[in-house]
């Protein structure tokens, strides 16, 4: 107990793990849904405590530094709001008979297990442990994507499973190669898998092995980030799973995989003779951005639309981190936070809208501002924000990325702006259909929980207007850390 209080990292891991076991045993979906929310809130509080409690020295398995605190706090915050949204969402799924009580017990236990996996991946100082944790998080989401047991859900889960496993296998091969490169310098055994050790001595490793390792790690974890051309699982998994899981996938799981890529990028970047990781990431980022921007046009399913938008934004973020340097890293980090908040807010509104309308087809969703003003305007604000309109935070981070790129590589900046504009056009085109015109389909009253939706939007808006000094200082420190 003392250890739990002394180091919040233990609490961040113990709460979801313990709750997962408890949720698997408890009956009754109302109780378990509330417990799920309470546990997520407790984890968030533990994560916030990381700011105040003196930081423990890196241990063989756990590490806390400026970089992962940002990720952990974002992860637990969205985890909490998604749990809150999920509690009202699943009530409706029970009523319509789409989910049974037994599958909900499973769902809640898996939700906490997934949070455990993601938090462990973010906090781990051991590259092997990080791999295992990401694998756990992936598997639990596979199971949740397939929870409706329809044809489409099974196919989506299957595709996700196969592509996710291939990605995870490539990442393991990369991890083994990093170990192989480290082993002559750091000796056999656990010492050569501890990230802080690796970082301290990376300059002495064999550069050829490190290069090869990075290619495998980028492809492997990049599959999980959803980078083109390895993105095929992402739209299906988002569209066919329960909407809270779509929000968590887009808002969190992609970030966790990105975090793994960043850790290894930092490692490679310290070696003078290794390949520069930047150009590879810039290339994959741009490809994802432009590809996804065009794919936005012909979507017919609303959740698929926003899934492609996630690919687009992950492309932008990877591009920014690939460019590197204090400004681009800062912008990339900010964009990641803004994207997580905005995209999960969009999925919260889409989830309720799809439940009310009884369809996810875009054609069936019209005139929302007339029939359901609160939800409709929430979605409209979210789409405007994600499309990069001022004064939202996404605009600011995109602006920073574009200007910092223009200063260094004007040609790349042109491609970037082209992709952004194509995506902007697609989203605005769709938005007009959603909010204006005669309402179609069912217009029944909505029992929606609007708090998480508007809380996220308020944060994104506030960040776009004014970023508090301490946040800027913190992000700057992290940007410097990323090199």
């Amino acid at each position: 107990m003392n250890a739990l209080l002394a180091n919040p990292a233990y609490a961040i891991l113990a709460i979801p793990a313990g709750t997962a076991v408890l949720l698997a045993l408890l009956p009754g979906y109302r109780l378990t849904a509330r417990l799920n929310v309470a546990a997520s809130l407790a984890t968030l509080i533990a994560a916030l405590a990381l700011f105040f409690v003196p930081r423990a020295a890196p241990r063989p398995y756990l590490l806390i530094d400026d970089l992962n605190i940002v990720f952990v706090v974002l992860n637990t915050f969205v985890g909490f709001t998604a749990a809150y949204f999920s509690a009202s969402y699943i009530g409706h799924e029970i009523e319509t008979g789409k989910l049974t009580a037994a599958s909900l017990r499973f769902y809640h236990a898996m939700y906490q297990l997934m949070m455990f996996g993601m938090n462990l991946a973010l906090l781990s100082n051991n590259i092997g442990l990080m791999w295992v944790a990401i694998e756990v998080a992936t598997l639990t989401t596979v199971l949740m994507v397939g929870i409706y047991r329809t044809h489409a859900a099974l196919e989506a889960a299957w595709k996700y499973f196969i592509l996710g496993s291939v990605g995870i296998a490539l990442a393991l091969f990369g991890t083994i190669l990093v170990y192989l490169a480290a082993q002559p310098v750091l000796g056999e055994g656990t010492m050569s898998m501890i990230w802080t050790n690796l970082l301290a001595r990376a300059a002495e490793f064999d550069p050829a092995i490190l290069n090869l390792a990075f290619v495998f790690l980028l492809l492997g974890y990049g599959t999980k980030v959803g980078l083109a051309p390895l993105h095929a699982w992402l739209p299906d998994a988002h569209a066919e799973g329960p909407t809270p899981i779509s929000a968590v996938l887009s808002g969190l799981l992609l970030n966790v995989a990105l975090y793994a890529v960043l850790r290894f990028k930092m490692l490679i970047a310290t070696h003078p003779d290794a390949i520069a990781p930047g150009p590879l990431m810039v290339g994959m980022g741009l490809l994802s951005l432009i590809f996804a921007a065009f794919m936005l046009y012909r979507r017919r399913d609303i959740k698929r639309l926003f899934a492609y938008s996630s690919i687009e934004h992950m492309g932008i973020i990877v591009f920014a981190f690939g460019m590197g340097g204090p400004l681009a890293n800062f912008a990339g980090l900010l964009h990641m936070v803004m994207h997580s908040l905005t995209k999960s807010a969009i999925f919260y509104s889409v989830g309720h809208i799809a439940q009310i309308k009884g369809t996810q087809q875009i054609d069936g969703i019209r005139g929302l501002t007339q029939s359901h003003p609160a939800l409709g305007w929430g979605l409209a604000l979210g789409v405007l924000a994600i499309a990069g309109m001022p004064p939202f935070g996404v605009f600011m981070s995109e602006f920073l990325i574009v200007t910092s790129t223009f200063a260094r590589e004007p040609l790349l900046a042109l491609l970037l702006v082209f992709g952004l504009l194509v995506a902007f056009g697609a989203l605005i085109l769709r938005l007009a259909g959603f909010i204006f015109g005669e309402p179609t389909g069912k217009v029944g009253p909505a029992e929606a929980s609007l708090a998480p939706l508007y809380a996220h939007l308020a944060l994104v808006l506030a960040a776009g207007i004014f970023l508090p000094g301490p946040v800027v200082a913190w992000f700057r420190a992290v940007a410097a850390l990323l090199g």
């Binding site: 092997g128 397939g146 099974l154 291939v166 083994i176 192989l180 082993q183 055994g189």
Partner: protein, 220 residues
């Protein structure tokens, strides 16, 4: 370096690549499962040889898992499943065998050239082992993309994973190898057999993934 020890490690790892090639041209599911069992046996031999020469007794656990779980339990269970579904006599080909074999040879050549060229400073044991392991991984991937049937895709994934275990045991003193092999086994048992095949079987009379693709939300 002990010449004989090196040659035997080489022989076993090379044998694994050969068995991977054998899996590529098996068109009948039952035959495929039998060859996979052989793949797992060769892996178990290879891992126990590594355990012997590295004096790492914990690797015997990994070898035992490969032998009992992958060579006996999993193929046995899959045999039962395909018999119950009535697809044990089915023949499947998507891409021609000749073409796939050629592609496989290309992949093996590529991985050997790549690994041997890039890892000149590494321990000779490890680099040869990794070159073979990468070949097995890539052949497993090739099998997953050329097959349509869910069972063959699972077999492809498992052979890919055997390649990873080979790589992990070849890297001398790597921690967590046993844990990783256990995690993979749990993954395979739990997800593949338990959940997916049953659910897919529950909903469809076929486990041909080609048939599943019609149910995408977006028929344009």
């Amino acid at each position: 370096m002990d010449r004989i020890a090196f040659d035997i490690a080489h022989l076993l790892a090379g044998g694994l690549v050969l068995v991977s090639f054998m899996m590529i041209y098996q068109e009948r599911l039952t035959a495929l499962l039998n060859v996979f069992a052989m793949h797992a046996v060769v892996l178990a031999l290879s891992v126990s040889w590594q355990a012997h020469i590295q004096h790492a007794p914990h690797l015997y656990v990994t070898a035992a898992i490969a032998l009992v779980f992958k060579a006996m339990i999993i193929p046995g269970a899959l045999h039962r499943i395909i018999r119950r579904m009535g697809i044990h006599r089915e023949v499947e080909t998507v891409v021609g065998v000749g073409l796939t074999m050629l592609a496989g040879m290309g992949l093996v050549a590529m991985s050997i050239v790549l690994m041997l060229r890039l890892t000149e400073t590494a321990d000779a044991f490890a680099r040869e082992d990794l070159a073979f392991a990468l070949s097995v991984v890539l052949l497993g991937l090739l099998m997953m993309v050329t097959r349509r049937n869910a069972v063959s895709q699972v077999v492809g994934f498992m052979s890919l994973e055997n390649g990873l275990i080979l790589a992990a045991t070849g890297a001398k003193g790597m921690p967590l190898v046993v844990e990783i092999s256990v995690a993979f086994s749990v993954l395979i048992a739990f997800i593949v057999i338990g959940v997916f095949l049953f659910r897919i079987r529950e909903r469809f009379d076929t486990i041909d993934l080609g048939a599943l693709e019609e149910y995408r939300g977006e028929n344009q």
